[in-house]
Subunit: 589 residues, 2 copies
Amino acid sequence: MPHDRDRHRIIPGPAPTTDDDALAPDVWGFRDTRFALLPNGSVTLTGGRYALSGQELPDLLPWVERVMGVTLPRTGLQESSYPPAVPTARECTGFLSAARTLLGEAHVSVDALVRLRHGHGQTLEEMYRIKHDTLARVPDAVCFPADEHDVAALVEAARIHGVALIPYGGGTNVTDALRCPQDEERPIASVDLRRMNRIRWIDPVNEMACIEAGAVGRHLQVQLAQHGFTLGHEPDSVEFSTLGGWVATHASGMKKNRYGNIEDIVLDVHAVTAEGALARESVAPRESVGVDARRWLLGSEGTLGIITHAIVRVFPLPEVQRHDAILFPSFEQGFLFLRDLQRSGAVPASVRLVDNLQFQLSQTLKPRAEGAVALKRRFEKWVVTALKGFDPARMVACTLVFEGARDEVAHQEAVVRRLANRYRGMRAGAENGRKGYELTFGIAYIRDFVMRLRVVGESFETSVPWSDALALCDAVKRRVRDEHALRGLPGTPFVTCRITQLYQTGVAVYFYLGFSHEGVADPVGAYAAIEHAARDEILNSGGSLSHHHGIGKIRADFLPRTLSPEARRWTAAMKQAVDPANLFAAGNQ
Amino acid sequence: MPHDRDRHRIIPGPAPTTDDDALAPDVWGFRDTRFALLPNGSVTLTGGRYALSGQELPDLLPWVERVMGVTLPRTGLQESSYPPAVPTARECTGFLSAARTLLGEAHVSVDALVRLRHGHGQTLEEMYRIKHDTLARVPDAVCFPADEHDVAALVEAARIHGVALIPYGGGTNVTDALRCPQDEERPIASVDLRRMNRIRWIDPVNEMACIEAGAVGRHLQVQLAQHGFTLGHEPDSVEFSTLGGWVATHASGMKKNRYGNIEDIVLDVHAVTAEGALARESVAPRESVGVDARRWLLGSEGTLGIITHAIVRVFPLPEVQRHDAILFPSFEQGFLFLRDLQRSGAVPASVRLVDNLQFQLSQTLKPRAEGAVALKRRFEKWVVTALKGFDPARMVACTLVFEGARDEVAHQEAVVRRLANRYRGMRAGAENGRKGYELTFGIAYIRDFVMRLRVVGESFETSVPWSDALALCDAVKRRVRDEHALRGLPGTPFVTCRITQLYQTGVAVYFYLGFSHEGVADPVGAYAAIEHAARDEILNSGGSLSHHHGIGKIRADFLPRTLSPEARRWTAAMKQAVDPANLFAAGNQ
């Protein structure tokens, strides 16, 4: 019930019209954006959405070939045969009829391709299979509720008609979280929250907002900014992922140093569960009210209920935003800089350190240069290598994003400069910093491109104490190379890492792994085996099972190595207690 | 198993010899410290532990009498008749015999006063009853395990012999959390963790430490400092409360702006539960590993198991620590200063704002002044009131603690000065700031003193969004006065508040309430009724059930007003699932 205390709330207009048609069903991201081969052998990113878009990149493929010791095909590419044959829907007439009555015909779909899209996230295996094979099982229906009453009614209908439910946000997970369990005997309905994408209110005085779970990151950024606010939460997937998804996967954002990770941002979560709606009246800044069941939804990965909306902290748009980039002679030097920076208490919103291979990659993502531009680039290279004595095969780059009040940012910048000097850091400028930060979004498209060149690849990540981080990076790369050699796969694997988050007690490390599967019988199996070995090495090296991607199904078999049997029994007993019929049957964890 | 990655760990020596004898069994705190009436009518705090100790305070009682509109007795005080008659222990021979075999004779007690002490915390009702009445039920035995094997064996013995367990840390809770449920038919054993008080290791590289649950705050401060570290966690009870207690009550520390609240400090919790030991191998800086059962122990208030140890963040001792105090013409002006300070991003470790009554109280806690000191005080008062125009009946004080790197503190100080000017703030100096901060510890003894003068009093607290905070403070004070008048109680209630914590979305407010019960039949009942009304008013005003004290039994009846029935069913179902025999029968929440 609205209280007169809430008079100061802003009620934003309707959510932006969904531009779902802009999204590609079979590859990452927007339809208009993909890496493509030009007739001259250069690579380009189509469309105009990213800094990289429309540029001709002559160096990329030759460099990748050198690194991987293989020749990549320019013709006879492995083209996608999407759409695949989609498994026939199981019969669930009773549920469908109830759902159509509840939501209206238009908001219940049994279309094969709609069902297919709701049956997978973005793991390598899933993306490979929808293009070159098929998925063994996909949801039998997809429902699009408009509000929590719809959701509650769907849950009730599912119970009555014996249907299992799997919530769907942006479909960007990389944990097989949406993969339908093959042993589920009931029909499965996907509950897609895209219609529940409104900002219900913004409280500018207390800096909170109530936002529906289906709201997509890129829309939230725009809409909150119209009222002078930002959520500050920028996972790599922010363009496509949703608030509900962030809560369910326990997500982390690139600017967490300023805005926090999702557990810091979320003040309250509302969900429809098998027991009814978890809800409450007021949101306190901080509480001690015993065991707080609402927090269980963080990291629940669709298994405890359907998150309908959340109350989150929002931040006034920062007074200033500045980027910077600093080159270091080695990963070790850059790492020591990160540690001192973390200890300084003046950590910018985002700080990331790429290794040498990833630094080289960023250099190959530059357009063909001529005249003055080429001259400038040669001069810069000379300064770095000849004058400063940096070894091109060892040097690395750190990108920084500063956000905050003018004096706060000035203080951080002064600290960064002082500490960078300590480790022979050399400033590479705001423009390179901005490009480095934004590269995250453009480079996400490359996986689907190289798949056509018979390269399978993906990212994985971990978190690890400071003392173990460098050794972990080395050990994982070595293990990947060993496993790759052991299997007699072609060439050398492409394996690179960056440190993406700083914490008091350690860091998050993000790896990219790829290799050519020219002539390999089961590329997906080979990739899974190597990634599995890499995860084993991560755990051996003191790393965690996941920093922010989550468990889903892809890492569930490692859980016994990180949680005691009692802790897992507790979680299982709780799930059994609050969802005895396993209505929420995603089967993650 | 120790890993060679752990070579850099520091293994501190044994925990300090326990000085349990230094603690008073029947009043707050140390035996040597209590407020006492001097023959000349002044009040003094005995002992030498606090800044206040040993000083003659002539103004205190006359001022209290003016505020409360009553004459307090100087003779014929209501002296404690502690020890009370202690209920006979229930028979639990089998369990006792097992416990004695496990722990040794010396570490199992059935002594009446030991049992009594383990049957209560520090609520007004409990402290009143042990002095003037008795407790209806106390534990039937008290066990002192030495390690988690002992704890596990005790849990097993309790299961076999049908005994209920209640863990005991420092006994400082103010929620009736230790009160033995009267309807519990089994014998009750208290599990006192004081022997489990070691720092097992300090990891200076990753800034973590593994600490046993029974470690007491004041010992931890000393021992960590010997190795150059601090936990930074300073609840008002830090002298007496324990790490396990902080986790179980979801505690907050006065310096949380720098060090975080307990949920930020704790990286991992180990506990012995009805299912066995919740434990794991490694501690990551941050994880996404699904629903994390170990976090359920935060706020569990003894109902889910016995916390044995935790891995916590520790911080290098700050380069500088500085105090400051700022006077403001009114609570409203001070409040606006707090809000701007929170928004600045440069918030000192501790920031607290006392209302006018509490400011006046601090002025009466000054020793008799003569000569130069008296002159200086008169001059200061003249500056504040005549020159600056502050109204003594409206002005308030803000105390600040700065901790951190030199440049970080300098930056915070500059921001504080700039913002204080904006609201006519007048700096009152570091010494007043330090005294204001430390007053918390000395003033805690006053409740037991005024109880002898037939005044019942206690503190309670809440958290509330910024927009509702001032109105809440007013509404609660008004409601207390109304309820007091309604009951025809003597004089006027003493009710005062301070803002003790700042958050992005709101603040924590801490109230003191007291009144004379001269001629009142049921002082404890009258106090409970007024406090209950105050809590009702807090909830009406948008405040939370508790910011950091917790629920226990004292606030359990308000839970339905803050959590939906489904959320409470979830918690109940989880408890039932993980402790079906209700071995941990404290009955809180």
